[in-house]
């Protein structure tokens, strides 16, 4: 993640816009990224300090040091440093300094009164204890060795990560984010929950609007949740079609940060699996094959319950305008089931069919709406029966 001193952006009257590394300068930046990766590889098994010096030499009085340092920061997330000697350094220093105390003052050059210089004292310590260290402070961060480089990252990946980090860095100062999503609801809300954010959902014809901030945002603007919002961004980017409006504090006041699916940024997060289980997949495939007037859509509706949402697995749509939701409750842990039931009871909608695995410890009276019990598969026929019964 980029610290605020490394961010690059423009602020005009309305908007804040990151200065991404652009495709038209690709040759230049790819060269820099390649150079940086090469410098890291050249310092494999060398002290970090030497790497840092090489990097700052590469930087020298080059303009655009923010780009370099930002890229270095990202590269650093892919490497591992460790002390050069197999030694308990703090213990070593403790014994050494206790030993040295009787030799004070240590001087740089012996004279008539003072005859202890550090080299001699270190040798005496070595012969008294058998302990020796090449570097008294080999465990310090900048003295550690660049031990492992796990950069499978190409120059192009580095630039992608950099651009994403730039957008996230701006969101650190975001106090409220409004998004619009046309698909991928389950994935997006999973990442929203993971980031511990609060949301308010509104329906907008074929899409959903979601206002995002945190509990304390109720009282005043706060950037407290900026980190969470930044963490959420790559999750949002997993939707096919999306739009976001972030309200960001800048030196010049509040500005808007806008992104959508055409922003050119790439997410490195994982999409949630298209189906929660094979039961759902089988049902979907079978329903598609069946000749019926009803059409089926996956995860097409968000039921906002305040602190949580429920996104039913399927939505069944009839040409005459009828719409029914279907949620399949598969085999889960008792805690999960309990939460799920509580959630379903709160929904309390007559147009929500619930299909429950009959091995689960629950009965018809746990649900207010229509229920189907199933053994291994949810039968399309049974669902259609319920649909047509309610006609």
């Amino acid at each position: 993640m980029l610290t605020s001193d490394l961010l690059r952006y423009d602020v005009d009257e309305k908007y804040i816009t990151p200065r991404y590394l652009k495709r038209k300068h690709a040759v230049k930046y790819l060269k820099i990224a390649d150079d940086l990766i090469a410098i890291y590889h050249a310092h494999h098994m060398k002290p970090r300090r030497e790497l840092d010096e090489a990097l700052s030499e590469y930087e020298s009085d080059r303009v655009g040091y923010k780009i370099l340092r930002g890229s270095v920061k990202i590269l650093d997330g892919f490497v591992h440093y460790q002390p050069g000697e197999d030694l308990n350094y703090p213990e070593f220093r403790k014994r050494l300094f206790e030993f040295v105390e009787t030799y004070r003052p240590i001087v740089r050059q012996v004279d008539l009164i003072h005859h202890h210089v550090s080299e001699d004292v270190l040798e005496q310590f070595n012969s008294a204890t058998g302990l020796k260290a090449q570097n008294l402070y080999g465990d310090l961060p900048d003295q550690q060795i660049l031990y492992k480089i796990d950069i499978k990252l190409t120059a192009e990946d580095l630039i992608k990560r950099y651009n994403l980090a730039l957008a996230q860095g701006i969101l650190y100062r975001c106090h409220k984010m409004d998004i619009k999503i046309w698909d991928g609801y389950k994935t997006v809300f999973q990442y929203l929950k993971l980031a511990q954010l609060m949301h308010k959902t509104h329906r907008a014809s074929k899409a959903y609007l979601v206002e995002i901030d945190g509990p304390f945002s109720l009282f005043r603007r706060t950037q407290k949740y900026g980190v969470n919002i930044a963490r959420f961004l790559p999750g949002l980017m997993l939707a096919q079609k999306w739009h976001m409006n972030g309200l960001v504090n800048t030196e010049k006041g509040q500005r808007t940060f806008v992104l959508d699916q055409n922003c050119g940024l790439t997410s490195h997060y994982k999409k949630s699996h298209p189906f929660d289980s094979s039961v759902e997949k089988a049902f979907f495939d079978n329903f598609k094959k069946r000749k019926t007037a009803w059409d089926i859509e996956r995860e097409a509706e968000i039921l906002d319950l305040g602190d949580v949402v429920l996104i039913p697995d399927f939505k069944l749509i009839h040409p005459d305008g009828r719409e029914v939701l279907l949620e399949i409750v598969g085999f889960w842990t008792p805690e999960y089931l309990e939460k799920k039931l509580a959630k379903l009871q709160r929904v309390n909608r007559k147009d929500l069919i619930i299909a429950v695995n009959e091995n689960l410890n629950c009965s018809r009276k746990d649900f207010s709406g229509p229920v189907i019990f199933y053994k291994t598969r949810v039968k399309v026929k049974e669902v259609l029966e319920v649909l047509n019964r309610d006609k």
């Binding site: 403790k94 300094f97 003072h114 550090s118 304390f216 950037q223």
Partner: protein
């Protein structure tokens, strides 16, 4: 029956159908609940009881503790007065005492009085480690640490402002007493969340320098309570603190250092003059920003950095330091320098234990314990010790380099001002002659301790 619940640094009132006539409650349309800052917990309880509303307090996880100070503690008069004033004021508010006057004891007494789960918050990891040691020793309990690579929350926990800011929404229901060391840091917009997201009914602030140049200390009244006791360094000196003298030693640069210094300084100053930049405030910020894009500004910026490095690490300073070490070889010496590299150079050349922000908790405790016991007689450190860490019984301090901050300097002085039988303390300040650093030193001396 209503439920009062803690939710991520806020309080929610569930099952209360009316609109609560208490200004701290806001309707939250997202979760469809009444919500208030956790800060107002006490006020809400009073309101609920006054209105005879039957409720279930499911918010607090505060626990009562058997806290008893195990060691013999001879509190000084001003410490006793301070604690009493705080208790008289309903255990809310700040106490202002100079660095080195034993604010820690005041805090321990406050904890012993309240006897509830307590969170102690301070600005640096170094201070955190120190409080960790003191509280463990004083009460003989396991103390939790949040921050500096640790995430162990216990009934009594120490943490930093940064970590508390990040985690308070998770732990704001656990503590009955909050103690803020160096409370003048608290009014920062972000840090204000710490007291706001905690339901702790009682709170104590400690500092040597309550007032902030930005005036934001005014916010502390709502978050903690008012200043309820104050003593300045002048009121305590001689009485409770050792006498001290300061020796300023001018250092000449070597011929080569001087050449380099002049060259870089010249380049920088020419640039500044040409651009008409004033050397402070927003102009300086603009210059720093410009140096990221404009090659000339970048060169000027690097020249400024180089010239500063030359004066901070002057070769002759090492010579003078060596002679001080010789002269005071029976004394207890602390060497201060702002530059970490210089700390480690000095440590290697003179084999002196080094303490910087890189030093880990265990080793830090060893070093400070050993210095306190007298096993070590010398210590070299960077500015991590600046605030409030009391290292007793040093009588010589050497300041090798520093910046123009009066607060910082005052706190460095505090390190050797500890009272000890018939002891005279000396502070050496090594300043490079004929350079920008003399000006910095002048600014530093304007602070109260020199007048």
């Amino acid at each position: 029956m209503s439920d009062l619940k803690f939710d991520q640094g806020t309080l929610i009132l569930e099952g209360y159908s009316d609109e609560p006539d208490l200004p701290c409650f806001f309707w939250d349309d997202r979760s469809r609940q009444w919500r208030a800052q956790a800060l107002y917990y006490d006020e809400i309880l009073i309101w609920l009881k006054a209105k005879r509303i039957s409720f279930d307090d499911r918010a607090t996880k505060v626990s009562n503790l058997e806290l008893k100070i195990r060691m013999k503690l001879q509190l000084r008069s001003y410490q006793k007065e301070g604690v009493q004033a705080w208790i008289d004021h309903g255990c809310r508010g700040s106490i202002c005492l100079p660095t080195g006057s034993g604010k820690t004891w005041v805090a321990l007494k406050a904890m012993e009085h309240v006897k509830q789960s307590t969170l102690v918050v301070m600005p640096t990891i170094d201070l955190m480690n120190q409080w960790y040691g003191i509280i463990s020793d004083a009460f003989g309990i396991e103390v939790g640490i949040l921050g500096g690579g640790y995430h162990e929350v216990r009934e009594v926990t120490v943490t930093t402002y940064d970590s508390a800011y990040i985690h308070m929404d998770k732990y704001g229901d656990r503590f009955g007493l909050l103690i803020f060391d160096e409370i003048h840091h608290l009014p920062a917009v972000t840090y204000s969340h710490i007291p706001e997201m905690s339901l702790a009914p009682v709170r104590l602030g400690l500092t040597a320098t309550y007032e902030r140049p930005d005036g934001f200390h005014g916010k502390l009244e709502r978050l903690i309570g008012p200043v309820i006791y104050e003593k300045t360094i002048k009121e305590l000196e001689g009485d409770h603190l050792a006498k001290y003298e300061t020796m300023k030693i001018a250092i000449d640069l070597t011929a080569r250092e001087k050449r380099d210094y002049e060259k870089n300084r010249q380049f920088y100053e020419n640039y500044i003059r040409d651009k008409g930049i004033k050397f402070y405030g927003s102009d300086l910020t603009a210059f720093l920003q410009e140096s990221a894009y404009d090659p000339k500004a970048r060169k000027a910026f690097l020249a400024r950095l180089k010239s500063r490095r030359i004066i901070l690490g002057a070769e002759r300073k090492l010579e003078v330091l060596e002679s001080i070490l010789k002269r005071h070889h029976t004394d207890r010496i602390i060497i201060f320098t702002q530059n970490n590299d210089l700390v480690y150079d000095i440590s290697k050349i003179f084999l002196i234990p080094a303490l910087t922000h890189h030093t880990k908790t265990v080793e830090r405790k060893w070093i400070l314990d050993n210095f306190r016991k007298g096993t070590y007689s010398v210590l070299v450190t960077s500015k991590v010790l600046n605030e409030g860490v009391d290292v007793p019984n040093a009588n010589v301090a050497v300041v090798l380099s520093g910046s123009a901050s009066p607060v910082e300097h005052l706190q460095r002085l505090g390190r050797i001002l500890r009272k000890s039988k018939g002891k005279r303390s000396v502070l050496y300040e090594l300043v490079t002659r004929g350079t920008k650093e003399s000006q910095i030193s002048y600014m530093r001396r304007r602070s109260d301790a020199y007048q």
